[in-house]
Amino acid sequence: MVTRLKRFDPIIWIPVALLGAFALGVIAVWRGEHVNAAWFVIAAVCLYLIMYRFYSKFIAEKVLGMDDSRATPAEKLNNGRDFVPLDRRVVYGHHFAAIAGAGPLVGPILAAQFGYLPGILWIMIGVVLAGAVQDMIILFASVRRDGKSLGQMAREEIGPIGGAAALIAVFVIMIILIAVLALVFVNATKNSPWSVFAIACTIPIAIGLGYYLRNIRPGKVIEGSLIAVGLLFVAIWLGGVIRDTSFGQVFNLSPTAVVWAVIIYGFVAAVLPIWVLLAPRDYLSSFMKIGTILLLALGVLLVLPATQMPALTKFASTGLGPVFAGGVFPFAFIFIACGAVSGFHSLVASGTTPKMIRKESDIRLVGYGGMLMESFVAVMAMIAAIVLIPGEYFSITIPALKTAANAAKVVSGLGFPVTADQLNTLAKNVGEVTIVSRSGGAPTLAVGMASIFSRLLGGSALMSMWYHFAIMFEALFILTTIDAGTRVARFMLQDTIGNVYKPFARTSWMPSVLIASAVVCLGWGYLLYQGVVVDPLGGINSLFPLFGTTNQLLAGVALIVATTILLKMGRLRYIWVTAVPAAWLLVVTLTAAWEKAFDPSLRIGFFAHANAIESGKLTIVNPAANIFNDRLDGTLAIILGALVLIVLADAIYRWARILTTPEREPVREAPVVESQLVA
């Protein structure tokens, strides 16, 4: 039984719509300086409320036909372990903690080089029409199939070829994701004894927490985590104390040293038992995440900072952006993945979340609502970037600037005036020797957050603490993803090789664990190394587009699966709900993959870059390695494009069969069982 449409409440929704439209109008057409950040928040919240109230309801009732009389897998298969029906607000918390990572915090910052308008519009429109739709429908499909994963659904609903391509895409995305996040981490911590010390402290703190939860007070997650978070603050404070001492210089690591530290860390963390490092670090980063996001929202709402970045910069039309190269289309839509639409979410939505859903109508809040919250985080991150003075934003975010004087000259020359003194003062305020070319997004966000927080509390005296708090919080996210991602990729590899050599599939067999972990770490470690050490531009320009492309590609695959399922359910008239965003993502990812491979511009096309070095038109340190890496990255881009086309071709074949066969092809849902829960 579907809950009946409640009375349309025009008294509430018409003002919300008008306010939202007005705020959006202010953002879009205001061409004076300094739009207040409040308008961004108002526009986003109004749009989310309206689309949640109307569009997600339409999808739930009309498109999917959710039915609370059908027992969910959590009810049918309740085993008190992984299949457990939970209150929808609790599932929402679980799901949000799982989907929200460093992605929505980094992408919008980088895309801010185009000005705020392209990014903010894509975040808001992308989420309500694509991202939240994908999360919700995949979650629904998985619930109807007893919690099957996206890979299994792709295989069963589309076919073995599409399914295999989807699986390969998942593996590739894992490797590239880890490499990119590790790259962001390196840029945030290189030559910064304060950051490295504080982050190094998280390791013994996490191990201590793991021991506490296992042996001293088993399962007391909240009190243990709160104690550990307290210790984290002590570590941040201590970092500031020791940074100028000779002991502090031990933590002053070159970029190359950080790369090796991260690779070794990743391998060790992936091999250790879960309770030692991964699980406790996960609690810590979840606590810090929720706390910091609340704090950021509070800061933005209380400070209401004026934005400094123009709506559009000239880079939007020239495609010659200094942060990364390429035009607004397709690259704004590639760099902002998480926050607008993220294929990765379809893995979570078909992973642990569907096993906790109590009744089908809860999927609307968890799937659609959870993604709206993630998008809100992306809006906040965008705000933190655009309240910075553009000259400072670009000096921090553009790669390969040498000194403050050099940065001031280059950035001012781009039309964003800034002085060396200004940059030195800013560096001093955040407690660093330099903030120039800490590219990757995380440090830019940290400076933005520190400037907002310090206006709220502590002024410039506390700014350096806030900055390192923000860096630590992002580092925790990233390290958790490195642990967990390496492990997930390792399981996939073990499973695949296990098809050929049986013992390898045993996830606890040590030789298999060590070999598979090493292979995975070498995979992302190589990409990381080439990005940081070999590539003179520090990798963001080459690796981040690959990451964004894979993530959006996965979203495209998920939406193709969703489209196939809708067709099989006989919902041809509503097919646009998934088909339109799928088509958009395919156009975006294919264009991006094509441009990254074949564009004649040296800064965009990998092959053009390689050829220019080879023919001597471009002189560069380490030419042979750069040529090899360019060709490797270009080949990766081609493989990614080919994977999408394979899935699409397989799906179109399937669609044609569904549409031309008179009797409807059956959906592969689990059998209907009457729910015993009172709806």
């Binding site: 008190g80 992984d82 609790v90 994963s149 399962g219 985590s225 879960i274 893995l347 499973d495």
Partner: protein
């Protein structure tokens, strides 16, 4: 005063649910109602297994 205490208690309860602290009680409840034979696991043993389960192969619960 009463209401703010109530709100705090609700918040704590929510945090316990989301972090999984209250899962052990839920497990005991399940053990009882489902009529499994034998004693239920101790909290320590249960928490060990629960931690392993959370990161078992196939349960992707982490994202970008």
């Amino acid at each position: 005063m009463r209401t703010s205490l109530h709100v705090l208690r609700q918040l704590l309860r929510y945090a316990q649910d989301v972090t999984g602290e209250s899962d052990y009680d839920r497990y005991l409840e399940h053990h009882r109602t489902a009529g499994h034979p034998g004693e239920p696991l101790s909290k320590k043993a249960w928490f060990r297994r629960w931690t392993e389960d959370r990161y078992a192969p196939g349960s992707i619960n982490r994202c970008c």
